[in-house]
Amino acid sequence: MKNNQYSVKIFETTVEDEDEFIAFFDTNYALFQDHLIVLHGNLSPRIEKYLLSKSLKYIHNVTLPKGRSRKALEEDLLQRERESAISMQIVEAKLKKLSSRLQNNLMVMDSMVRSGREISIEGDLLLLNRVNSGATINITGNLIITKVVEGAIRCHGNFMMLTASPKANIIFHGVEVENDLLENKLNRVELKNNEIIITPVLKKEINWA
């Protein structure tokens, strides 16, 4: 395979008025002898014949690549790589978030959450003890608490199961849940079609001990 690379002078023009076009080339054709003429617009046989008679080389209706330096090309390539890396990261983060919603990374805790303690959890939590007044649990996933909650809960999971005292402050997806609805028995709180649905898990209070 034999390759040659040239830099060519190009004269780009549009045919609008044929007479005007011919008049222009009659006076200037000598200047365009070593140019490549790129024509836009309608190419009639008359023009074609005229250009041939003046032995001018031309091409018709071609979009020309705009000349750019090697540096600019490399930068463009780098930019594209970076963008794809970022989009990969976004996809990964979304997957991770989704997997944390899907009952993964379950954490089991047996200690009491005493007043003043703030727990932040990515994933799900099963807590087998009390949450005392003045304590806070922030959780991205699902939450099950088997004893009474008197503290604050911020849950962003698909569901939570708990019993709350009237002192508790329970916020599920940014909405405060009425404590009266969570009293005395284990309740399931879930989000369905943008509605918070609370259902008692058992009619009677369960004794977990």
Binding site: R114, G116, S133
Partner: protein, 270 residues
């Protein structure tokens, strides 16, 4: 080697200092050597309740700074020869406490006494943290009301994370004293029941002390209420001190008013 017990509460005014003074005396009366140390630097009260305010020459801060020896600073109780008292500094503030100095002081006291009882300051600041840092056990004093219980809960949480023993993987024993119980109010539901308090705090019950008007006068007189054999609070402290000294003492239910039906009927006609 003695045991170091911190008396804590979180909230102020629940009766920490009164409990410390009475338990110290109770232990002393049980023939065990006991020292009570006031850790409430800048606001010392224990000397007054023990009736020893005019005996204070050197305080604990001076001992820690080696301006005085422990023997010079220890004050012997007028009532029991087994009870000694180490006063807090009234002029300094809590920032003078440093971990190494506190540890050194406590270790030297542990050698000579069976019980070292530390009266913690109210609150959960540095003074409190230094009190609990080298304690083997803690006695949590609460009143049957929600704010006292929440503060105690917080204080226990800090104890469970900041104490030296916990940092070494051991556990600090925690015991609860419920102070100022009014039986009538518990019966009518105005005051929290001790079962509910134990449920919230989840620590072992050491004793219940009923409300007793004699306590204030006893404190003012500098004669702890435990010396008054007729006082119901004094009797409660005798029972608690007995338990601390390893005796089997049954829990008396002070939440049932012993006024009785007959007395109540008589009361109606007054």
């Amino acid at each position: 080697m003695g045991i170091v017990i911190a008396v804590i509460s979180g909230k102020g005014g629940v009766g920490k200092t009164t409990a410390t003074a009475n338990l110290g005396l109770g232990i002393g009366l049980n023939e065990k050597k006991c020292v009570v140390v006031d850790f409430d630097i800048g606001q010392r009260n224990l000397d007054m309740i023990l009736g020893l305010e005019n005996r204070v020459v050197y305080d604990m801060v001076q001992v820690m700074d080696e301006e005085a020896t422990v023997q010079q600073a220890l004050i012997k109780s007028k009532v029991s020869e087994n009870l000694f008292f180490l006063a807090a500094s009234q002029s300094k503030d809590k920032s003078v406490l440093k971990s190494e100095k506190v540890q050194k002081l406590i270790n030297s006291l542990k050698k000579d006494f069976d019980f070292v009882i530390l009266d913690a300051p109210a609150g959960i600041e540095s003074g409190y943290e230094h009190t609990i840092e080298f304690a083997d056990a803690a006695i949590v004093v609460v009143n049957p009301e929600v704010s006292s219980i929440r503060d105690a809960d917080r204080a226990i949480g800090i104890l469970d994370s900041k104490s030296d023993k916990v940092k070494n993987g051991e556990e600090v024993a925690k015991y609860l004293i419920i102070n100022r119980i009014v039986a009538d109010m518990v019966e009518s539901g105005e005051m929290l029941k001790s079962d509910d308090i134990l449920e919230i705090l989840n620590i072992k019950l050491l004793g219940k002390v009923p409300e007793d008007k004699g306590v204030i006068d006893a404190s003012n007189q500098g004669k702890p209420v435990i010396l008054d054999k007729k006082s119901i609070a004094g009797q409660a402290y005798i029972r608690i001190a007995g338990r601390l000294c390893g005796q089997q003492v049954d829990m008396k239910d002070v939440e049932i008013s012993d006024s009785g039906l007959f007395k109540r009927i008589v009361g109606m006609f007054r």
